[in-house]
């Protein structure tokens, strides 16, 4: 029978798949993941209160004409308006500014679901998210959520659809101990705050559903009216991870969402630190087994958003010695890292951008 043998649906022969320059999970370094990337070619949807597109911090990165405003009409039906709209609150502009600061060549699109009318927001939110998924955005930032359980299932379905349609959704976890959707779903990357002031320093949280921790405390953000202010909340942690995800997707355009999430896990500061600590104890010539790596990062400095730690945040030790042939970028290049943002206000804005752009490499 040979090739004619019937197989269950979706069955097929496996193929050897290999990421360039990656023989082992240890090779998933920040340098591999986003070194040299600027976010070019990536489209990011910011589902929020709108974006002030002419804000000087955004430097024209917003595709104004592509934006959409979803609201509940007087008759209760959802109304979609494409094109220009303003930011009703400033929150969407803040998120956009963070993403642009990390991925300066990514194109941003505003999906406004907050701002007109205080009822029916969950319906507008869901419709806006579905629109972004259908439009094929590479990264979708959700610094909002709904606590209404009756909306959980529709959001679950949309997020699963996004996952299989190759959209990487980043959501902010609720700021308080309360269920919020879609941040509880596995198909998204849910983010709360760490206490770092380095925009590239994020952590893996081994206690899901919040899987990542990124800067969100005392963050200087763009705000409507052309200025900036200092804000605190998980809302500002999510766009940090979204910006880094945009860098990863720009450099490695073929990665699926679960691979992006895996790369982010491998590049999380506490996971990287754990490898390096293991290396300092004489294991640098051995590859960590997965169990050893797991034990190491569990012991690393993961903190809950409400825990306090001394500032400034700890920096990782120097990069490990390169044991693999370089793929597209040199391992000896430092990981792109911004100067820390001073804690007091007013502050000069940190430039969280990577070094001069290089052409992103295809995977």
């Amino acid at each position: 029978m040979g090739d004619q043998r019937p197989l269950p649906a979706f069955s097929r022969e496996s193929q050897v798949l290999r990421l360039p320059g990656v023989d082992n999970l240890e090779d998933l370094s920040p340098e591999w993941a986003w070194g040299g990337s600027t976010g070019a070619g990536v489209r990011v949807a910011v589902i929020d209160s709108g974006i002030e597109a002419d804000h000087p911090d955004l430097e024209g990165c917003v595709d104004v004409d592509a934006g959409v405003h979803v609201r509940v009409g007087a008759d209760g039906d959802l109304v979609e308006t494409t094109g220009y709209h303003h930011d009703s609150f400033g929150h969407g502009t803040a998120c956009a500014g963070i993403i642009h600061g990390l991925a300066p060549e990514a194109r941003l699109t505003s999906v406004k679901v907050l701002g007109v009318g205080l009822a029916g927001q969950a319906a507008a939110f869901l419709r806006g998210l579905a629109w972004a998924v259908d439009e094929g955005f590479d990264v979708i930032n959700l610094s909002l959520g709904t606590t209404r359980r009756d909306w959980a299932l529709p959001f679950h379905e949309i997020c699963d659809r996004a996952y299989f349609q190759n959209a990487f959704i980043v959501t902010a976890a609720n700021n308080v101990q309360r269920a919020s959707y879609p941040s509880l779903f596995a198909a998204v990357a849910s983010v709360a705050c760490n206490l770092s002031d380095d925009p590239y320093r994020f952590h893996f949280n081994p206690e899901p559903p919040t899987e990542f921790l990124a800067p969100g405390v005392d963050i200087e953000v763009a705000w409507k009216g052309g200025g900036r202010l200092v804000a605190t909340g998980n809302s500002y942690a999510a766009p940090h991870l979204a910006g880094i995800a945009a860098l990863v997707r720009s450099k490695h355009s073929r990665l699926r969402p679960f691979q992006v999430k895996t790369a982010l896990w491998a590049c999380a500061a506490n996971v990287v630190d754990a490898r390096q600590r293991a290396g300092r104890f004489g294991q640098s010539t051995q590859r960590m087994t997965s169990s050893r790596a797991t034990a190491a990062f569990r012991a690393a400095d993961v903190r809950s958003p409400t825990e306090r730690s001394p500032r400034p945040d700890r920096r990782p030790p120097p990069p490990p010695v390169d044991r693999q042939p370089s793929d597209q970028v040199s391992r000896t290049d430092p990981v792109p890292r911004a100067d820390p943002v001073p804690r007091t206000d007013p502050v000069p804005r940190a430039d969280p951008r990577p070094p001069p752009p290089r052409r992103p490499s295809a995977t």
């Binding site: 209160s49 009703s88 609150f89 400033g90 929150h91 907050l114 701002g115 007109v116 009318g117 205080l118 009822a119 927001q121 610094s143 909002l144 959520g145 709904t146 606590t147 209404r148 359980r149 009756d150 902010a172 609720n174 700021n175 308080v176 309360r178 919020s180 705050c193 405390v217 005392d218 705000w223 409507k224 009216g225 200025g227 202010l229 200092v230 804000a231 605190t232 909340g233 998980n234 809302s235 958003p305 409400t306 206000d345 007013p346």
Partner: protein, 186 residues
């Protein structure tokens, strides 16, 4: 018809939030359709705002209510960018604002705003504390009934109808009689 009396529970909650976080003033806004109405105001600079109605499509309180997410902001004193919503009614914009939603069950019914913290910026501890108190305020708002501030006292309603009945007996007398009968029945 005048508004109902000050709700002591809401005032106590706002006062507690103000004192424990170190804010100089606190406001509690209740959602009424697409507007927000100030139902409690604690602190010298905001006391006069009780009863004020502001649109629900701008400002920190509206964002907090629409998104269900707390918001802590710090700006330089005098920054005009916080002159939206109820902030536009203040003599001077605040230098720091903490807004948290008043959630009842699964829905946000109002927003608690705390203004200016002389000791510095609002912290996560402030967010958690304010959220706890705002949650209680949300329950209190719901128990008081929708649009609690504008629903007249039943006795006031009857009195008003009596006045109208005297002014236009043919039009209002029957209505006043029915209302009085209903009130008498309890």
């Amino acid at each position: 018809m005048s508004s109902s009396a000050v709700d002591p529970v809401l005032y106590a909650l706002v006062g507690s939030a103000q004192e424990t976080t170190g804010a100089t003033a606190g406001l509690l806004l209740e959602r009424q359709h697409d507007d927000l109405i100030v139902v409690a105001a604690v602190g010298d600079r905001v006391e006069h705002l009780r009863g004020a109605v502001v649109p629900g499509d701008g400002g920190v309180a509206a964002y907090v209510l629409a998104s269900g997410q707390p918001l802590a902001l710090t700006v330089r004193p005098g920054d005009p960018r916080l002159r939206e919503g109820v902030m536009a009614l203040l003599d001077q914009p605040p230098s720091a604002v903490l807004g948290v939603p008043c959630a009842s069950d699964e829905d946000a019914v109002g927003a608690l705003l705390l203004l200016d913290k002389p000791a510095g910026q609002f912290t996560f501890d402030d967010v958690e504390l304010a959220t706890l108190l705002a949650g209680i305020a949300g329950v209190a708002i719901v128990q008081a009934g929708p649009a609690s501030l504008q629903v007249p006292d039943p006795a006031e309603l009857a009195s008003g109808l009596e006045r109208l009945a005297r002014a236009d007996p043919a039009r209002y007398a029957m209505v006043a009689t029915i209302v009085e009968a209903l009130l008498a029945r309890g």
